[in-house]
C-alpha cells in the first residue's frame, strides 16, 4: 500500500526529532558538568541527519526519489570549553580556572522548540495520511 510509504517517511522524521530532543535533554542536563569519563568538561552533543532511500529494493530506489531521514550519528561538538575563574572549585586548574561545557541554555531552548514543532509537523503528516486513507475508504460506502 503506497500510503504506508508516507507513514514510514513521517515515522523516520518523528524518530529524528526525538533524537534531537534527547540531545537537547543531554545538553541541558550537563550544562554545568565538569567531569566526564573521557576527561574534561561535558561537550555539546548534536545529531547529524542523513537522508536515505526508503527501501532496500533496488527497483524502488531507481523509481522513487523519496527519502526518509535517518540519524547518522550524534556528534560531539569541538567548541572550546568556557573558562570561569573559580579557584575554590575542585576541578580548577593551577591558575584557578574551571572549564565549563560550552552549552548555551538559550540556544538549547530554541533547539527544543524547533524539535517540538518539527515533531508536531510530522505528526500532522501522519494525521493527513490517515485522513486521506479514510477518504479513500469512503469510495466504497
Amino acid at each position: 500500500m503506497s500510503l504506508q510509504r508516507a507513514f514510514a517517511i513521517a515515522a523516520s522524521g518523528l524518530t529524528a526529532q526525538r533524537t534531537r530532543m534527547e540531545s537537547v535533554a543531554s545538553n541541558l542536563a550537563n550544562a554545568r558538568t565538569t567531569r566526564t569519563p573521557e576527561g574534561g568538561p561535558y561537550r555539546r552533543q548534536a545529531p547529524i541527519f542523513v537522508s536515505q532511500p526508503l527501501t532496500n529494493n533496488f527497483d524502488d530506489m531507481l523509481g522513487s526519489s523519496l527519502r526518509a531521514v535517518r540519524v547518522d550519528s550524534v556528534a560531539t561538538e569541538t567548541m572550546p570549553p568556557i573558562l570561569r575563574y573559580e579557584p575554590g572549585h575542585p576541578d580548577a586548574d593551577e591558575s584557578g580556572f574551571v572549564a565549563y561545557p560550552n552549552v548555551d541554555p538559550v540556544r538549547e531552548m530554541i533547539d527544543m522548540l524547533s524539535a517540538t514543532r518539527s515533531y508536531e509537523a510530522n505528526v500532522t503528516v501522519v494525521r493527513g495520511v490517515r485522513e486521506m486513507s479514510g477518504a479513500a475508504l469512503e469510495i466504497l460506502t
Binding site: F7, T15, L137
Partner: protein
C-alpha cells in the same frame, strides 16, 4: 488518408489475448482473498508485538507503535470494506431467484 485505411482491423482474438489476466502466481480469487487476509493479519500481529514491546518497557518509539496500530487499523478497515462489498454482491445474487 491511405495511411489511416491501412491500419489492420482489430480482431476479436487479438483483443481477448490482450485482456488482462491475473498473474499466474496469484491463482484463484479465493487464494487472492486469503493472501489479503493473511497480510492484514500480519499487520495486526506486528501492531500487537509493538504494543507489548512498548508495554514491557523495551526501547521502542511511541510513534512507531502508534503508526503500526494505525496501519493495522487501516488495513483491517479496508478488508472490512471489501468484505461488505462482497456480502452485498452475494445478497444481490441471492435475491435474484425470488423474483424481486
Amino acid at each position: 488518408m491511405n495511411e489511416i485505411l491501412r491500419i489492420n482491423p482489430v480482431e476479436i482474438g487479438e483483443l481477448t489475448s490482450r485482456a488482462p489476466r491475473p498473474p499466474s502466481t496469484s491463482g484463484s480469487f479465493g487464494e487472492v482473498l486469503a493472501d489479503a487476509i493473511r497480510s492484514v493479519d500480519g499487520l495486526q500481529h506486528e501492531s500487537e508485538a509493538a504494543q507489548s514491546q512498548w508495554a514491557a518497557g523495551e526501547p521502542v518509539d511511541l510513534h512507531d507503535v502508534l503508526i503500526k496500530i494505525e496501519e493495522a487499523d487501516l488495513a483491517f478497515r479496508t478488508m472490512m470494506e471489501v468484505r461488505n462489498k462482497l456480502v452485498d454482491a452475494y445478497r444481490e445474487v441471492m435475491r435474484m431467484g425470488s423474483g424481486g
